[in-house]
């Protein structure tokens, strides 16, 4: 009965009601907003993470459009069984350029956080067209239309400018010439034997710093990725995105002192 009495007090006093609502919203707001103030100190300091190239951005948009996140997560959690299956646990730094992030919470299919480099481009194409052609027990739907549809990328620079705006890390403003050369970069990455030196240098400089050693080159899938060199398809973009997932940080090069910093 006491509960009801108190409730009546709030219900019949508009100021108390407003105060109660205010306190509730403040608590919710604090829990949601305050962690963002310290985000730069909670994200690990790790070398190699870079924003996505234009082709990868386009592929990521297709990944989101097709709802891949409905069945695939992109976060290797720090548990032994996950480490042994997928590889090193995901770092916050690895998804700091993801808007929105694709961590996911449902795994009908396997986690994709470290799928980059695990399969050949040709395998991805065949698997996306008809998953059962390579994995007989798969229940994933086929996406054959991706190989048919030319990629619409004439607004990719505007897309990247938007990502730059929503990002706390000024993603593309710090990558020299990324937005200005977006369309050229996209075409260079997806065309066989194209001159990709400017594209690779741009993103490697961001990943490893302008003073990087010659062999410090960021990983990206180059050339004709879908087996059809005549046209840049949505399949090219999606494969480029999948092949970079989880490959930016070289964990063999991360020393134990750095790792100890992650455990604070």
């Amino acid at each position: 009965m006491s509960l009801i009495k108190h409730h009546k007090l709030i219900e019949t006093n508009v100021f108390l009601l407003v105060l109660g609502i205010f306190v509730t919203v403040i608590i919710g707001g604090l829990v949601e907003i305050v962690p963002l103030f310290s985000i730069k100190s909670t994200i690990e300091n790790v070398q190699g993470v870079r924003p996505y190239t234009p082709l990868e951005v386009a592929g990521r948009d297709i990944y989101v459009r097709e709802g891949c996140y409905n069945c695939h997560s992109q976060m290797v959690r720090p548990f032994r069984d996950e480490i042994e299956r997928y590889g090193h646990y995901s770092l916050a730094a690895e998804s700091k350029f993801d808007h929105p992030f694709q961590w996911g919470s449902k795994r009908t299919g396997p986690d994709l956080a470290r799928v980059g480099g695990k399969y050949s481009n040709e395998w991805h194409v065949r698997h996306l067209i008809n998953p059962r052609a390579v994995v007989p027990e798969s229940i994933m739907p086929g996406y054959p239309h991706l190989a048919q549809r030319p990629l619409a990328y004439d607004t990719i620079d505007a897309n990247m400018r938007t990502l730059d705006l929503v990002d706390r890390f000024e993603t593309y403003s710090q990558v020299d010439g990324a937005i200005e050369n977006a369309v050229a970069d996209l075409e260079a990455q997806a065309t066989p034997d194209a001159d990709t030196s400017a594209l690779v240098a741009r993103y490697s400089d961001f990943a490893f710093g302008p003073d990087r050693a010659e062999d410090q080159v960021t990983n990206m899938a180059l050339g004709d990725l879908d087996g059809n060199p005549d046209v840049i398809t949505e399949m090219d973009a999606l494969v480029a995105y999948l092949q970079v997932l989880g490959t930016m940080v070289d964990f063999t090069a991360v020393d134990q002192t750095r790792k100890a910093e992650w455990i604070r």
Partner: protein, 292 residues
Amino acid sequence: MAEHPERDEITGRYTTGHEWDGISELNTPLPKWWVWVFYISIGWSVLYTIAYPSWPVMSGFFGGATGWHARASLEDSLAEAREARSEWVTQIAARDVPAILEDNTLRSYAMRGGEVLFKENCAPCHQTGGAGAYGYPTLADDEWIWGGTPEAIVTTIQHGIRNDTDPDARSSEMYAFGEWELLTEEEIDQVAQYVYDLSHGEMNAGPGQDIFVAQCAACHSPDAQSPGGEGNKDLGGPPLNNRIFLYGGTKKDIAAQVYKPQLGVMPSWSGRLSDEDIKQLAVYVHSLGGGQ
């Protein structure tokens, strides 16, 4: 409160005292146990945020009274797993694959480990049990493109084939004889017929054989002058004198491959799997059917 709750005449239950146009609200309180669980949960969550990493503070976050950390606890469980496996894994690390194959106990341990690793990492292309698929070699037979000795299998797994991430990847590139106009269509037809016959056990002298010796034997035969097409594992040229074909064994398939070959890619695994894992995989693959 001033007014006492009234009893509803029909149901005999108390009302909340709220009444709209003669319709009053019955008081149906939540069960006592539910309310208590609710209160206890609130108390528990407060204790939880004290015990475990939770609140953000100026430089980072409050680490929790227990000092528990997900990543530290992971290191512990990984160390525990390493400890549990160390008896076998150190033996695997210390020996090369042929030595593991000779030791029955160690071999069966490596077989079990290799089987699990194979299912996760290799079966998507090579299929369960190494059955193979179009474009992905069968591992359960005794035909090997890059060699079926334990050492050769280890090297192939470590570095992969034709990937652009590992500088030591195995690599061979068959010419696009048609697309690059190295052979005319007639010549491609002749050599395809020769290879087709070869795969059916017939070696027919003629223009097809001449083209084969001139263009193909360097990689597809152990001796550059041999018309037999027995394969060359050093150069990754598959044998052509049997009906095992990666991209189809009809004359049309063979001609298509001569015109513009499909070249398979295998990723490099040395960055993804440990040396001991790769050795276990090699033991498993070697034992699938045709280890040499």
